[in-house]
C-alpha cells in the first residue's frame, strides 16, 4: 500500500509541471498571439515539459513571432524547431555526465547549437566545465564567440585553455566583448582570438598593435573537426 501510495505521488508530481506549464503558457500568450497559434504552442510546450525541457524559451519564441507579425504556421515551425534544439541540447549535456541538467544549461546548450556549435562540442565543453565553472556560462561564452564569427573549435579551445589555467570564471565572461573590441579595431574574429590567447599562437611571434600577422601557425593543441 505504502509503495503504491509512493508511486502515485511520484506520478502525480511528474504530472504537475505539465499542468503548471500549460496554464502558464496560456496566460502568457493570451492577447499576444492568435488563439489557434496559442493552442498549438501549448501542445508543443506540454510535450517539451514532459521531457524535462524548459518551456520559457518556447513561450518567448511564440510571443516574438506574434510581435513580428510572422504567419502562424511559421511561428509553429520555429517553436517546434526550438523544442527540438532544446531536446538535442539536453541530450548533449546529459552525455557529458550531467544526469539532471538545469534549465539554464539546456537553454545555453540550445543557444550554442543555434550559433553553429555541434552537439559533441557542447558535450565536450560541459565535460570540461567542472566547478567553479558553470557549464551554462561557459556554453554561453563560446556560443557568443561563435555568434561573433570566431570558429567554434577556436572559441572552444580558448575557453578550455582558460579553464585549464584556472582563470577566474569572471574572466571568461569578458571574452566576447574583448573579441568585439578587437574586431572593431580591424582584426578578424580569428585574429582577435589569436591576439588574446597565446595558445592559439602556437608559441610563435606575437603581434604588435596595428599588425595582422600571417605567419603560418602550428596546429592547435586541441585539434577539432569542424
Amino acid at each position: 500500500m505504502k509503495a503504491l501510495g509512493l508511486s502515485l505521488a511520484i506520478v502525480l508530481a511528474a504530472g504537475l509541471p505539465c499542468a503548471v506549464a500549460a496554464q502558464d503558457v496560456a496566460a502568457r500568450l493570451d492577447a499576444r498571439v492568435p488563439a489557434d497559434l496559442a493552442h498549438a504552442v501549448q501542445e508543443i510546450a506540454r510535450d517539451a515539459a514532459g521531457r524535462g525541457l524548459p518551456v520559457e524559451p518556447l513561450i518567448q519564441k511564440a510571443i516574438e513571432g506574434g510581435a513580428k507579425g510572422v504567419p502562424a504556421p511559421r511561428v509553429i515551425a520555429a517553436v517546434r524547431q526550438l523544442a527540438a534544439r532544446l531536446d538535442e541540447a539536453q541530450s548533449a549535456v546529459r552525455s557529458a555526465g550531467t544526469t539532471a541538467p538545469s534549465a539554464d544549461a539546456i537553454e545555453s546548450g540550445a543557444y550554442a547549437l543555434n550559433t553553429g556549435m555541434t552537439a559533441s562540442q557542447v558535450s565536450e565543453l560541459v565535460r570540461a566545465s567542472r566547478p567553479p565553472y558553470d557549464p551554462a556560462v561557459t556554453l554561453r561564452v563560446v556560443a557568443t564567440l561563435t555568434a561573433l564569427g570566431v570558429p567554434a573549435p577556436q572559441g572552444l579551445a580558448m575557453v578550455e585553455h582558460m579553464i585549464s589555467e584556472r582563470r577566474a570564471p569572471s574572466e571568461l565572461l569578458d571574452l566576447p566583448s574583448e573579441v568585439q573590441a578587437a574586431t572593431a579595431r580591424g582584426a578578424t574574429p580569428t585574429e582577435a582570438v589569436q591576439q588574446l590567447d597565446p595558445q592559439q599562437q602556437g608559441g610563435g611571434a606575437t603581434h604588435g598593435p596595428g599588425q595582422h600577422g600571417h605567419s603560418p601557425q602550428p596546429p592547435s593543441p586541441h585539434p577539432h573537426k569542424p
Partner: protein, 218 residues
Amino acid sequence: MTTPYHGLVKRVLDGELTLADLPPELRAEGEDALRLLGAVDRAPVTLSPQLDARVMAAVRRHAQSPLRRAWRAVAAPREIELRLRIRPWALWGGALAAAAAVALLLGRPTTPGATPSVVAGVAARDSVFVRFVLYAPGAKRVTVAGTFNQWDQNAAPLVPAGTSGVWTTTLALPIGQHQYAFVVDGRRWVADPAAPAVGDGFGRRNSVVAVTTGARIL
C-alpha cells in the same frame, strides 16, 4: 625556445600569490621570475624646464587659428554636452564594448572615468542598466524590443541624441541572457550591428546581450 613560466608563477608576478603559495617544485622558477621583476627601472623621470614654454607657445598659435575662433563662436555648454555623448567609435564596440547593448559585469555603480556610452550602473538588486544605441539617420521612430519586454515594440522607445542620426535609450535589464532587435519606424526589425547575432527562426537575426553581476556567475 624558452619554456613559458608556469601559470602559478605568473600569478606570483601579478601579485595574486606569494612564493609560499607555490608548490616546492616551482619555487626556484618563482624566485627567478621575481628577480627579473626586481630589475625593473622605477626611477622617476623629469623633463626639461623649457617644456612648459614650448607647449604654451604652440597652444597660443593654435588658439589663434581661424577654425578655433569659429568654434568658440558657436559652442555653447549644452552643445558641448551633446557632442560629448556621441562618439562615432562607440557605435562599433571598441575596447569598452560601448556600442549599443553590452555584455558587462556590473555589480556596482559606474566607476568614475567610465566612458560615456558604457552603462550607468545597477538599477535594482537583480538588474543592470544597459544602454542601447543605434545609428539610424532618417528614421522617424526607433524602439527596442526583446525578451526583456515581451517583444513589445512600443515599450522602449529610443530618443534621438542631437541631430546626428544617433538614437539611444537606457533600460534596466534583469540579470540573464536576452535577445532583442531594434524596430525602425514601426515596421523594420533591425539587428544591432555591433552585437553578436543569432537566427530568430523566422529568417531574420536577433541580437544577444548577456547581463551579469560582478561577483556571481549565472
